[in-house]
Amino acid sequence: MTQRKTQTAHYWQKQFIAGNQDLEAIYNQILEHNQPIRLDAIAVDLIRRHCDAEERETRRELQEGRLYQPKESYEKNETLVFPALGFATGTVVSTREGQHPGYGKFMVISVDFDGSTKEFATQFDHDHPLNMSDQSLANLQGLLSPEELYQVYKDSIYPKLKNALNANDDFVMFHDRYFLLDLLPEFHEGLFNIADAAIDINNGPLSVDALIEQMGLVKEAQEITDVMRFSVSYRLANDERFDDVGPTGRILWYLDRIAPPEAHHPPRRLLVNAQPYDSNLFDEDLRVLLAEIDDETINLEDIKPLDPDADSVIIVLNYPHRRVGTLPLTPKTKPFFPSSHYNPVLFEFVDGRTGNSFPGWTVLEHNYVFGLEKWYNKNKLPAGAYITIKRTDNPMQVIVDYQATRTQRDWVRMASVTGNKLTFQMNPAPLSCKYDELMIIGESDASKLDDFWMKAEERNISTCDLLCNLFPVLSKLNPQSTVHAKTLYSAANVIRRIGPGAIFQELLTRPCFIPMNHGYWTYDPSLRD
């Protein structure tokens, strides 16, 4: 039996396009339901239609024989298809009465398969797998169901279907749910001025239901329909004054003019020139270090899975995030913050020291949470400080804390710009928090460092040159003249947003960097290539 095309990767990945017939069927599907439909559901239905079409075709190929089921009765000369015999077709040549001491009487047919004859039970209305109700050929052949096919080939089907629907003016979309433009109700433009004012007065986001009520579209909240929610949300999403800032499953409308620019545009300090790396090249020491560093550029498979029930997580703050008041979204931190794949999410940070709350933004698209600059400054937290993130009973409130100590003067790696060079010196500085000694970076003049960072960005020197420049100034701080890989990562990020994977790869592939034990490295300028 030949393999069905709808069961193959080739069909869904190469051949399939959502054509006019598909779009017409989807149009009718939405029209029939008169409800917005999720793209996933549309896709599964589309796959089902393709599979059904092939099923009909396959049946035609099987000479339109009836599928044999023991419970049915068949006539002489009738052609049958036998699913449990590799879909062989045969012709009924005779019938007789059969009997079984347990089942009683039934009929037996003799079937001719090109010269050989076999007997089969008919009018046999007892438990038998072939008597099951779903007797499509696809089911009997043990083929993947449309739902299973979608799971397997979603990566190909989803974007193709989405692009086709988005390119067609008949369909409108909000949060991956599709509806028909013709079915959208008309709204007076003034209603959206009311929505704007309502959010402004509320001084915070409003749910779509609250806005519908404020806009006077219903008299009672119970009158709000799903179509109304979709229609209003669709209109708001296409009005540049409004932003959806709700987490997945919740739509909360806010005003774009109130939202900070960082809700949509990542701070320049965080922009990474993504350099791929291969952790298979790393030794055990580097792999452990990679998993320890909290950096959004690290590949998912290189990070130890976090206990999903953990109530808190501790991360080490790096310099770029410290400067712009953000935290990285990594597999360790992501579960603690409300997020959405569609939009930035507005939530509340709760200060673990004071209980005061202040706004935070989860920007999943760029892997950071924003809103901590004032909190970092108020608590004088350096890059390298341990930051604790804790859950609360309210998923829209996240506690942020640090490990406070009595203020003491510790020796800190201070970054400064001397002449046209970035330098580091060990200087005593007052600190009142616990920190990672290998990662801590202090600064005496942040604005000078910013200028230097801007110039370094413009010069765009290679990672190797960057590390070669840093090694001499960092190795002077250590009597052994070695530099720890974590320290190198932390220092490099003062002037370049760069992930630890890219740095470690550079260390491994350049002969001028020589590994010592336990994550420490030395540098031999004579071996620089």
Binding site: P101, F120, A121, L130
Partner: protein, 141 residues
């Protein structure tokens, strides 16, 4: 002759009644060796009787000696029917009598008869030479 495909631990086996028909061997005589004394007594009345056995997967019908049904119904309650002292091949045959000849893998057979190992069972019934009709399930017509 059908092409021999080496069975694996995942291959399902059953008693192929057509093998008995083709070989002209007397299934009743062989079944007698598996019948306990009460079954043998019951079987005396069924001498010459056959019934239509329905394949639990394909719906195919074979006319089988009534003794099969007597052993199947009577001995299924008898805990000594799969006694550890009987030979492995007999135990395998009996496992199929008890379960109504529903196809089983070597692993499943081992779970039922609790004798030897699945690998040894596979080596025993997975050979080219068919023992008492116990064959891999195939779907040829």
């Amino acid at each position: 002759m059908a092409k021999y495909i080496k069975p694996t631990l995942d291959t399902k086996f059953h008693i192929d009644f057509s093998w008995w028909q083709k070989k002209g061997q007397n299934l009743r005589s062989y079944l007698q060796s598996h019948a306990c004394p009460p079954c043998k007594e019951l079987a005396q009345d069924s001498q010459g009787q056959i019934f239509d056995w329905v394949n639990p997967e394909t719906g195919e019908v074979f006319q089988i000696d009534m003794l099969w049904h007597i052993i199947h119904t009577h001995c299924s309650e008898d805990p000594t029917f799969l006694d550890s002292r009987i030979p492995l091949t007999s135990a395998i045959f009996r496992a199929f009598i008890l379960n109504g000849n529903i196809p089983l893998t070597s692993i499943e057979i081992h779970q039922k008869i609790s004798k030897k190992t699945p690998e040894l069972i596979l080596r025993t019934i997975g050979r080219r030479q068919v023992y008492k009709g116990i064959k891999p399930v195939t779907t040829p017509v």
